[in-house]
């Protein structure tokens, strides 16, 4: 097991290195550099040149690459051109926000999707199944930003139940009497709509995956055996079918993570949620290489690592799999 994990980690490192290099090449190939885009008539060409030299953008590409690798290996990723701060610092400020929103959303939708998928498969062909499947299909295929806009329009604007965007309200955070729980509650209050958006988009896919996996499982002979043994239907479903059926779902969660992150970035953008996804979109539009590279690396690392974790978890959960 340890050998397997180490091997996978080594693979992850190699892949990360490749991504790192490709990112570097892409950003250097792109026309225009961060200094060129400062179109301020007050900036003279001499000043631009000086700034380029100071930012090290005039160095030979190999030197830049080595510096870049050094920066990445220390986890610092250099300085953000836009913020003028160490990239690591910028990212650490936004990362918890993304983790809070995204992890909660994925967990919540996985939980609901899996348990509803279980029920839908169990009642295949009945009204419950039809309603759940159609609901899953429809919400799963909704266009995320549009759904987000719609939710804002209805719940924040028309009904005024929730704040329109943002993550916290200044009233609460500037109130010296507000304790930790008040602040936490405030964040969660702001989180309701983005969370709902992500949840609606994601739970459908988990539901559908779980449903089909469960249907496969239900065809197995051990389900018939369980029934023959006189087990209650509920026990057959929960003790025999579900534990087998949710294993493939675990893998699919891992594999779909990269795609979910697209949705995460869109959600963060629409709701002005100060997270990594929004930061990446912003950094990209600002040609802030170091920041965009670091955000990208972070996302790739997270996806890669969660795939490793999922694989190891799978091996751990399923007694049949031994590497």
């Amino acid at each position: 097991m340890r050998k397997y994990v180490l091997k996978r980690l080594a693979q992850v490192m190699v892949i990360l290195f490749c991504i790192l290099t490709i990112l570097f090449v892409l950003f250097r190939l792109a026309p225009g550099d961060p200094v060129t885009r400062m179109v301020d008539p007050e900036m003279t060409p001499e000043e631009s040149q000086h700034l380029i030299e100071q930012l090290g953008l005039d160095k030979p590409i190999w030197t830049q690459y080595l510096i870049y690798l050094k920066n990445c290996s220390t986890g610092q990723f250099g300085y953000s051109i836009h913020y003028g701060e160490p990239v690591a610092k910028v990212i650490w400020e936004k990362l918890p926000n993304t983790i809070l929103l995204f992890t909660t959303a994925v967990l919540l939708s996985a939980m609901v999707g899996i348990s509803w998928g279980k029920i839908a498969a169990w009642r295949k062909g009945k009204a419950t199944d039809l309603v759940l499947t159609i609901a899953a299909l429809v919400t799963h295929t909704l266009f995320l930003p549009w759904l987000a806009l719609l939710l804002v329009w209805i719940f924040a604007y028309q009904l005024d139940w929730f704040p329109i965007t943002g993550m916290v309200s200044d009233e609460v955070w500037l109130d010296p009497t507000a304790g930790f729980f008040t602040k936490a509650a405030d964040v969660l209050y702001h989180m309701v709509l983005p969370l709902t958006t992500l949840f609606l988009i994601h739970f459908g896919s988990y539901l559908l995956v779980m449903r089909s996996s469960m249907l496969d499982t239900l065809k197995e002979d051990y389900i018939v055996l369980a029934r023959a043994k006189g087990l209650k239907e509920r026990d057959i479903r929960n003790k025999h079918a579900a534990p087998n059926a949710w294993l493939p779902v675990v893998t699919s969660v891992g594999l779909s993570l990269a795609f979910s992150i697209n949705g995460g970035a869109l959600t963060e953008t629409v709701f002005s949620w100060p997270g990594i996804g929004r930061e990446l979109v912003f950094a990209v539009s600002q040609n802030d290489y170091p920041l965009a590279q670091a955000c990208f690396m972070l996302i790739s690392t997270v996806v890669l690592m969660s795939n490793v974790v999922v694989d190891v978890l799978y091996a751990y959960l399923d007694p049949r799999i031994r590497y």
């Binding site: 000086h50 836009h82 604007y157 993550m167 309200s169 509650a185």
Partner: protein, 575 residues
């Protein structure tokens, strides 16, 4: 196995229950007490940095302009420069080429005195580190001397018009706060980049407000500065406050959220120009007052004069004739903008020359085409199907040919993409259609901003482009930058490649003229020259529409570039 599954289910249920509980708890109304007497300002983005030397963006400036103050500022009525940290007009010694300036007694927000040393320090580090955007304002200054605690003397190498308008409006930083930083930066291999990368968490300034708290991505909270030098004083007829306890800049990612927040009362002022689409709703709201202000902006179509076909002045003039700027303003800006005929916007009343060639002024579509047809025909252009037929009627033209008989090759109008600025992208589309009606093979292509600048400014590899400046300096020094042949180089500001010896001489002279009226005359002349050669076709200058709530604060001061200015913030009072 089943155990794992059960455990996972259980964990999820606990998480869900906890979330639900906290969400319900959170629905309880938040306390409003803390924000009484605070002005809440909505902004789209947060400041990129509080390091004055790095922060060049509009959003940082909104915050930093409350903190760092210059010696002179523009007053609201006529946009004239008035003493701010300075105690009076500078005294010029023509012989020695020095300016001597008295400073107001003022204090930094940490309570220490503001002295001539600070001014000297600021000037010196700008010169030393060649700080972008600032160093050109100081390059002609030989030395800055602190005569005494409240007197400072600038010694110039040569006369320079921007000394008064630009150098003296540079914000002053505190020597005490920056000294150490600068010393460290000097030691490093790349002093400038070390300086720019310096995190400034608590900027110390002389302005009416000081930073209290910055929650990244959410808000910037500024308290009133108890040491503000202007407090209680009357400057230019305004009795200075600030009368409010503080300002909270709330960051909204998108305009619609900010406008909604304004309507719902969670902000008092949205410090950004409101798009026309929102106006109908806002106009109907009695709690909201709209201010429509002029802006010092320039949006233009530029040509590449270095190569065919736009090296031909007649063609450029014809294009200028065809473009219906009124239509652009009516449609794309939905009426909120003014037509530009000169490269200096009319809002800059002192330098604006209303008497330049106005191509196509007052003409309708057919007249424009006929006029352009005349110009081009006279210059030797021909068509497969001319835009005007034998009966003098306008028709769809086909395949224009250059005077030498070659067909005109397809040319591209580069514009910024729609997400960056929809107005410019769409103007490009409209212009493309108009030019095609003349038989010109125009293609409008939006291009990412960085790439566009690289092509136009860096490589000079383009035909036409549409760019613009939202906040053009009131000092017309840019006329030299834009069209002087010395600036016709890679990354130079003369992107069109316009070259004229007469213009060069006059522009240089105007920039060195210390006499305002003389300079004004020269600037007028320069505008005329430019608008005859039309390397740029000025298109429009949008107006700024800003909205405030009237239920909590009054006393907004309107000036060029809107009500978001230091005078407003020093002057508004709670109701």
């Amino acid at each position: 196995m089943a155990r794992h599954y059960k455990f996972a289910c259980f964990t999820c249920k606990v998480v869900a229950a906890a979330l639900l509980a906290v969400v319900l708890f959170g629905l309880a109304p938040a306390s409003q007490a803390a924000s009484n007497g605070m002005l809440k300002v909505g902004v789209l983005e947060e400041p990129k940095s509080l390091n004055l030397w790095l922060a060049s963006d509009a959003w940082s400036n909104r915050v930093l302009s409350m903190i760092y103050q210059p010696l002179f500022v523009r007053e609201p009525k006529d946009s004239k420069l008035v003493p701010w940290l300075a105690a009076g007009e500078p005294v010029y010694d023509a012989g020695k080429m020095t300016y001597t300036l008295k400073l107001r007694p003022a204090k930094w927000s940490d309570g220490t005195d503001f002295t001539a040393e600070d001014v000297v320090f600021t000037g010196k580090i700008i010169k030393e580190f060649k700080i972008p955007r600032q160093s050109s304002k100081f390059s002609f200054i030989e030395d800055i001397v602190a005569v005494d605690k409240h007197t400072v003397r600038f010694e110039l190498k040569r006369p320079k018009a921007i000394f008064l308008t630009r150098t003296l409006t540079t914000p002053i930083v505190q020597k005490k706060q920056w000294e150490k930083v600068v010393a460290e930066a000097r030691k490093s291999e790349k002093p400038l980049s070390a300086l720019l990368r310096q995190a400034v968490d608590h900027p110390v300034g002389t302005g009416p407000f000081m930073l209290a708290q910055w929650k990244k991505g959410v808000f910037v909270y500024m308290k009133a500065n108890p040491y503000f030098f202007g407090k209680g004083q009357v400057i230019e007829g305004y009795k200075m406050g600030p009368y409010i306890k503080g300002i909270i800049f709330k960051v909204f990612g998108t305009a619609d959220a900010a406008v909604l927040a304004l309507r719902k009362g969670s902000i008092d002022f949205y410090w950004n120009s409101i798009q026309a689409g929102y106006l109908d709703q806002l106009k109907g709201d009695s709690d909201i007052k709209l201010f429509v202000s002029k802006k010092s902006g320039l949006y233009y179509l530029g040509f590449n004069l270095r190569k065919a076909p736009f090296d031909d002045m007649a063609l450029r003039q014809a294009v200028a004739t065809i473009i219906d700027k009124e239509f652009i303003i009516k449609r794309i800006l939905q009426g909120y903008g003014e037509v530009l005929y000169s490269v200096i916007p009319p809002g800059n009343t002192f330098y604006y020359n209303p008497d330049v060639p106005k191509y196509g002024y007052g003409m309708n579509h057919d007249q424009r085409i006929k006029k352009a047809y005349e110009i081009l025909k006279a210059a030797g252009y021909s068509w497969e199907v001319p835009p005007v037929n034998g009966q003098g009627q306008v028709q769809k033209a086909k395949d224009i040919r250059l005077p030498d008989g070659d067909p005109m090759k397809e040319f591209v109008i580069l514009t910024p993409p729609a997400d960056y600025d929809p107005h410019r992208a769409m103007s490009g589309q409209l212009i493309q259609e108009w030019l095609r009606a003349m038989g010109m093979p125009a293609v409008s292509r939006p291009m990412a901003f960085g790439a566009l600048i690289q092509k136009v400014k860096g490589q000079h590899d383009f035909d036409c482009f549409i760019l613009g400046y939202g906040k053009l300096s009131l000092d017309p020094g840019y006329l030299r930058s834009f069209f002087h042949s010395a600036m016709n180089k890679a990354n130079g500001w003369n992107m069109s490649g316009y070259e004229s010896a007469a213009y060069d001489a006059l522009a240089t002279e105007s920039n060195n003229a210390m006499d305002l009226n003389l300079r004004r005359k020269m600037i007028m002349e320069l505008q005329k020259i430019v608008m005859t050669a039309v390397p740029y076709i000025p298109l429009y200058n949008p107006t700024i529409i800003e909205g405030v709530r009237v239920d909590r604060f009054t006393g907004w001061v309107q000036m060029l570039d809107g009500i978001g200015n230091i005078w407003s913030f020093c002057d508004i009072k709670p109701k």
